[in-house]
């Protein structure tokens, strides 16, 4: 638990009336400590899924404790949440775009700039490759700085929206689509 407290990610907030267009997901409260409730997101289906889901690696990802610990985030402690409780959390729609641009866009831009500079000054593929590798390293460093700033502002942290209903034990929801 001390590991959790030392990482200290930004705390989520109560839902704001102005927060529309949220991308919602489910999370489960796994611990209560330091006046906060710690939640882990429920594994999301990244693809549509198929009959071979049991054989592919997608269904098995994120199951290790290190993976799960990396995904933990804090919710305010005064919500009265209990361990094991299921909640609905959300991030703003533009958060994913901001995250993708920071994590992938910035390094790629720097990579391309470095490669072009290497080609222009060195006039050989070797220099271009060297420039691109340098650019990628610089871009990743810049991405880390920007991600740190966004995390400190709480932009990347999911917000608590509401309590979720428990899924029935048999997993059926009795709709037309099953």
């Amino acid at each position: 638990m001390s590991n959790l407290q030392s990482s200290a990610p930004p705390e989520s907030f109560f839902p704001n009336a102005d927060d529309r267009d949220m991308v919602e997901g489910f999370a489960r409260v796994v611990a209560l400590s330091g006046g906060k409730a710690w939640a882990e997101p429920e594994p999301a289906q990244s693809c549509g899924g198929c009959h071979s889901a049991g054989l592919c690696s997608i269904g098995k990802q994120g199951k290790t404790s290190a993976h799960q610990l990396a995904k933990r985030f804090a919710l305010p402690g005064d919500l009265g949440l209990a361990v094991g409780e299921r909640v609905v959390v959300g991030v703003r729609e533009d958060t994913l775009t901001k995250g993708a641009l920071t994590a992938y866009g910035l390094p790629l831009l720097a990579l391309l700039a470095g490669g072009i500079m290497g080609q222009e000054f060195g006039h050989s593929d070797g220099y271009a490759a060297l420039g691109a590798a340098g650019g990628l390293a610089a871009g990743l460093l810049a991405a880390r700085v920007v991600a740190g700033i966004l995390s400190a502002r709480g932009v990347l942290t999911p917000r608590f929206l509401r309590r979720a209903f428990e899924v029935p034990v048999d997993g059926t929801c009795h709709t037309e689509h099953g």
Binding site: S7, P9, V23, P41, P43, A44, S46, C47, G48, G49, C50, C56, S57, I58, Q61, G62, A70, K71, F73, V91, E93, T95, L96, T97, G99, A100, L101, T102, A103, Y104, G105, P107, L108, L111, L112, G115, I116, G118, Q119, D125, A128, A129, A132, L136, L140, A143, R144, A147, G148, L150, S151, L156, T157
Partner: protein, 193 residues
């Protein structure tokens, strides 16, 4: 500069990796039910294609071509792609755990995405230099991301429409994809790589 501009237009629009070359159709149909998942998948694929193209170019020039090991190309490229995906996953987790939480779920899907291998093999066919192959890979993957987001937007609208029961689900998805492919055929003849 004009050469690179034509290369970008050609790779992203004229010879679009999904709608013209029919690569990456599995993720195209599977991950486009929502715009936000399409953005995440598109961005992760763009990053992985560009990184793997850089490495594959080096492997091709330093190993496969000089020692005439062309028959090992597909196996080698698959290995490089898997390594690139693992590298990307480690990088995103290191850069920001919060971002890994949002974007990490798409990364394992890329290892088995034929668009990544397809673009890398096209680079060898094209006999490009380093910077050309990097630009081509980046533009191709941006074209892939563009189509993913466009298609996801259309599917979100279709989900709200009153579609006849016979066409609901994948059938209307494929019909929409074919109409989108027809629209992209309008770019034909603008430039060729």
């Amino acid at each position: 500069m004009e050469h690179y501009l034509l290369l970008i237009i050609s790779a992203a629009l004229v010879s679009n990796v999904v709608l013209m070359r029919f690569l990456g159709l599995c993720s195209f149909m599977g991950v486009t039910t929502r715009v936000d998942t399409a953005i995440g998948m598109g961005a992760a694929t763009t990053f992985c294609i560009t990184i793997s193209a850089m490495i594959d170019w080096g492997v091709e020039k330093a190993l496969l071509e000089p020692y005439e090991l062309g028959y090992l190309r597909t196996v080698t490229f698959i290995l490089v792609i898997a390594a690139a995906v693992q590298f990307t996953e480690a990088v995103v987790r290191k850069v920001s755990p919060a971002m890994f939480q949002m974007l990490g779920i798409y990364l394992p899907l890329i290892t088995t995405n034929c668009a990544v291998l397809g673009v890398n093999l096209l680079l060898v066919e094209g006999k490009m230099n380093f910077i050309e192959s990097t630009v081509f890979a980046l533009a191709s993957s941006l074209g892939y991301s563009l189509v993913m987001v466009l298609f996801a937007g259309l599917r979100e609208r279709i989900a709200l429409a009153d579609v006849p029961r016979l066409f609901a689900g994948p059938p209307i998805g494929f019909i929409t994809a074919s109409l989108l492919a027809l629209a992209f055929m309008g770019f034909s003849g603008m430039s060729t790589n």
